[in-house]
Symmetry: C2
Subunit: 692 residues, 2 copies
């Protein structure tokens, strides 16, 4: 079998499915002019943000490309110019494809929201289908373009290191998309709630609120485009790490490289079937409809790869590692669900603690966040250890086999990513639809339907996040192996001694590690502070509009707020914050590398993974618990809306907003970016560093 | 020079100074019957808690002693019975001395508070002197007993491993004292504030509040006994780690062992002189009086050791490592001050953000907490790396020299610990004095004086905490070296291959590390939840008393609340929580060791240090920032008392309470306990583990 061609064909099939789903969504009826008008405002806002973001990122990408041509993988005056140019091209393609996937996601999401809203006046299943199929376009586009991109770069350059360049392009874009989108969405969300719900007591999506459109735009740019870029990045990074190790193992046979392409193609195929099977059955329960698709995909993938492995002569033990990853990913997803599901103890306890005031909401939710790190960390640890032992000794001449097992475990965890993204992008679409139903006055029944669809989206989102963090964790461990392989290649070229590993008792490793621990903390703080600063600015603007625009507060006919001003504040602020945070990350990696060399970087990556996973899980899950505790109270428990518990739960939710939607999920990408920068610059660190 | 004898003589001198200071404090005038009555209630409450705590801990110590006799350092049927008995005795002595130091601290603190309160009616300097000299009794007692204990165990057993047993005794007691005291103090503090200040609007130390005595008892058992046990533990652990490595290096000459005893003796001597020089000068500023003592001690120590080093033929490079630790410890202390000082940006920004509500108080304070980890982690990293390189190659035949350098750096950081404890115990004494002034109606001038003394105590406390965390971090790195030495000795005995280090690419090390990262999170969550649960119970009890005791709320003459009931709730709850948290820590260490062997434990300790330092610094500093932001608002800024900002700042302070006084500082001890358990059981892990 010519696996690269198969991978490209499956990717094209995914694009075909995406195009068909897009057409289907577009063909759904829409007639209400008010919904259409507001839908257009959201679309315009999202495109404005994306346009401005991409303009800045284009400059960034251009500068980095020049630096790559000059310095990576080797300074141009030392290595070959063509290798550097190839790397720069891979980098540009990686960022371009990531941007394209985001653009496609936004394009369909801002149509599907309108369709889903209107369909809600008709039936739940129709409304669900618009949301789910809209999300699936994003899922198919992301996985299709990552698979086709990786395969193409590999075929054209014949070199796995260039795939790392491609992956770095995807990651640096994801870092900005996730961080920028995250700051945007929470700025708008918090400000809209603070003035609307808390101060004035008007409903969530009241059209009088000047921040309401920005809030809906935020769902799209943060949750659709941002999350898509994030999982695009994880998926590409997992494939790159596996490919670098596979090439080292293959010894020219290409067998393991082929296995990667085969498994990822089968994963995409399973996701396509999973996506197409999505509909609400007789139960009428949207959550179980989404979960059913995930289970179908998971089981299909396991069966298909179990058939392919003997047929094409792949090694069963690598298959075992892949399935371990798949299984552990699912289990971790389910434990996140425990901490954020309102039928379980954590959410209910936080809601009940809220009766004693906001301090207890924060303390109990934060504690559950701390507890929640254990199952996920244990799962990642077991998965890494199990796949290591399963694969250790397959190739007795090499130490790389066991590391490759870990990489395959990451591939397994990410095999169903097409399905995961589809589920995840469904969330903000139906959330938007709910807003449109309210703003367009489509009636109580439609509101009830979209409420239920929205709530299913929230549950699924919590699971996806646990999944995304774990996949990133496992991927980065594999990348650490890839980094060592790259660094050793450079060390051999320089005639230096290769490194066997990263001993924590080595002072350079230890120093790198302890600095690496601090990085996710600093990065998170910058983003949270960014949201904080930005929200203060937007709150001021909302107050100004209510004060200065006559008739706005009273809801006088024909008076509309200046939505654009709020979108502008969110955009400008987000772009400022994302650049600063991203640059700090990249520069600190370079600083540690040039000071302490490859050993310090090995420690740095390790410390970064450890504290990154800890903080990402803590913030993601605590945020989810607070969010759902608030919803649980609003559903009439512990005193319901307007009670002491409710006011406290709102505080928890506001604290949780930037935790779970800005800082937490951005850390995934931050970890990957650090590791990729380190891998790409390993040649530089090997030849020049002050202490190394 | 016979250094063990010198060390014992200096320790006895410290006890003499402590006795003199105790007599001095006791001889201060006290006449007010109301102050005496309340002082007695506090004393009784503290002794009740300590009595019940020590009773439970005695059972725990007895059980562990039996286990030690049976299993440590080797199962009794394999090794020698006398070694095991010696270890058990060292363990019992370590815990007994730690308990004694706590007992002495409480005894003097509950007299000094009354004296300081009454002296405040007279002059600030007199009031200060009672507080400071009371605290110094604790400082002298802790350092004297740790030095005499370590020296005696070393002399009698001639074996550094037994010193580890002594250290484990000190640590396990410290774990319980810190965690139990922390839960007690914050249960009382939060409940008293919640009902008193927030619900009823009565002042902080109003005698009508049933929790007010428990709150004052909490200051003593949490901050005096708990912090004392914590620093006793760090100090002993640093000495043990250094001694284990020194014995390996000495080759029978005893030179490095002597150096440790010499330096620690000189450190204690410097602290004695520092303590005796303490008084408020013409400036009338208590903060600068405290800082002046610290600077005197620091400079004296540097000079004395610089003289001793050539005179007694110690190695200058080890001296260099010691001074690096001393210097970095001071710098880290100053950076903590930046984050918690109300003249600096963080506190003021949090206060200003509070105007937008409690969510912004939490978000901004949490962000500063995240930022604050960088300087401390960088300091620890630089200190470890610098001392490693300074000492690497002193003994070309050994790899231990560089690790010993790190241990000496920890010794340097802890050399001034006598002074640090004195400053630290000063805080709760004057805090208590302030309460007594208010409850005893000693007048506005006395209240102003004790307010100022209290505020100086808070500033110093923040610095001490940064110092304590960093010292624990550096100590545990040295202990990791000691662990490897111990494990290798066991491996050699078993005829197995020794380990050269802990490579993060090794699956067992990695697995241990990722589980180790989760432990401080779980431990913190248990303690925070413990405070949360306990405070809910106490709030109920306070409400009951206000409802059921006629005339209490109105402050009718002669009506007193049932203070004992609140003390009882805090005690029972604290004891329950501390046992659970402590046992989880010890069992998880054993589980990882018996599953993954010494390599997994190496990783486990490393992961534990990394996440422990991160969380301890985050929680300690965020808590300090919130506390001082509230005080800053109460001083009339951002709207002052009763404003929106004030209500929000109170929420921040309540969240910060268990962060900074329960979970944060307990993590220091938790890290040490894990490492010591691992070191002591290294022989067991080496001979039996499932995967190792």
């Amino acid at each position: 079998m010519n696996w690269p061609v198969v991978a490209i064909l499956v990717s094209i099939l995914a694009f075909g499915v995406a195009a068909w789903l897009y057409t289907w969504v577009k063909s759904q009826p829409s007639s209400n002019p008010e919904v259409a008008r507001i839908g257009l405002l959201i679309k315009k806002g999202a495109n404005t943000f994306l346009g401005r973001e991409y303009k800045i990122l284009a400059i960034f990408v251009a500068i980095v490309s020049v630096l790559i041509v000059l310095f990576l993988p080797q300074p141009i005056w030392k290595g070959s110019a063509s290798a550097n140019i190839m790397m720069a091209i891979s980098y540009i393609v990686g960022s371009a494809l990531s941007a394209l996937a985001g653009k496609i996601g936004i394009a369909v999401a801002t149509i599907a929201n309108v369709k889903s809203a209107e369909a809600a006046t008709n039936s739940m299943n129709k409304s669900f289908m618009s949301g789910f199929r809209g999300g699936s376009v994003m899922g198919m586009a992301v996985v299709g373009s990552s698979l086709i991109g990786v395969t193409a770069v590999l075929m054209l350059t014949g070199d796995a290191t260039s795939v790392l360049g491609f992956s770095f392009g995807a990651s640096s874009l994801a870092l900005f998309a996730k961080a920028g989108g995250g700051v945007f969405t929470k700025t708008a969300d918090i400000s809209a709630d603070l003035v609307g719900k808390v101060e004035l007591g008007i409903p969530e999506d009241d059209p009088r609120n000047p921040a309401v459109i920005a809030d809906n735009v935020g769902d799209n740019v943060g949750d659709v485009a941002g999350m898509g870029a994030d999982l695009f990045d994880s998926n590409v990074a997992a494939m790159s790490a596996a490919l670098v190790l596979a090439v080292a193992l293959d010894g020219g046979t290409g067998i393991n490289t082929n296995m990667i392409l085969c498994y990822t193609s089968l994963g995409l195929l399973s996701s396509i079937i999973g996506v197409l099977s999505g509909r609400i059955g007789k139960s009428g329960n949207p959550s179980s409809a989404l979960n059913k698709c995930t289970y179908i995909t998971t089981i299909l993938f396991a069966i298909l790869t179990a058939i392919a492995t003997p047929v094409f002569g792949f090694n069963w033990r690598y298959w075992g590692a892949t399935i371990v990853g798949l299984f552990v990913g699912t289990v971790i997803g389910l434990t996140s669900d425990y901490f954020t599901n309102d039928a379980k103890k954590p959410v209910q306890h936080v809601a009940s603690a809220s009766k004693s005031g906001p301090a207890f909401t924060i303390l109990s939710g934060f504690s559950y966040g701390l507890y929640s790190v254990l199952p996920a960390l244990l799962g990642i640890g077991i998965s890494a250890m199990a796949s290591f032992y399963i694969c250790d000794g397959i190739d007795p001449a090499s130490k790389t086999d066991a590391l490759f097992g870990i990489a395959m475990s990451a591939i397994g965890m990410l095999s169903i990513v097409g399905m995961i993204i589809s589920n995840d992008a469904y969330g903000p679409i139906v959330d938007n639809a709910r807003g449109l139903v309210e703003m367009g006055n489509l009636g109580d029944e439609a509101l009830r339907i979209t409420d239920e669809l929205d709530s299913a989206g929230n549950t699924v989102k919590a699971i996806t996040k646990g999944f995304a963090v774990s996949a990133a964790g496992l991927t980065v461990i594999a990348l650490l192996g890839a980094f060592m392989t790259e660094a050793n290649a450079a060390l051999v070229d320089l005639g230096k001694q290769i490194i066997e590993g990263f001993d924590v008792m080595n002072p350079l490793v230890f120093f790198g590690m302890i600095v690496g621990v601090a990085i996710p903390a600093i990065f998170s703080a910058m983003l949270i502070m960014g949201v904080d600063r930005n929200a203060q600015r937007m709150v001021k603007e909302i107050h100004r509009q209510f004060d200065e625009i006559p008739g706005l507060k009273e809801g006088k006919e024909g008076v509309v707020p200046e939505y654009d001003r709020c979108i502008d504040i969110a955009t400008t602020g987000a772009l400022k914050e994302l650049l600063a945070a991203g640059i700090v990350i990249i520069l600190s990696t370079l600083a540690v590398g040039f000071i302490g060399g490859v050993r310090a970087i090995g420690g740095f990556i390790t410390g970064n993974i450890m504290s990154g996973l800890l903080l990402a899980l803590l913030m993601g899950n605590a945020g989810g618990t607070w969010d759902n505790a608030k919803k649980y109270v609003e559903a009439g428990n512990e005193g319901g809306k307007g009670s002491v518990a409710h006011r406290a739960a709102v505080v928890g939710d506001t604290v949780g907003d930037p935790f779970k939607d800005t800082a937490g999920p951005s850390i995934n990408t931050q970890i990957t970016v650090v590791t990729l920068v380190a891998s790409l610059a390993s040649g530089l660190f090997a030849s020049f560093s002050i202490l190394g």
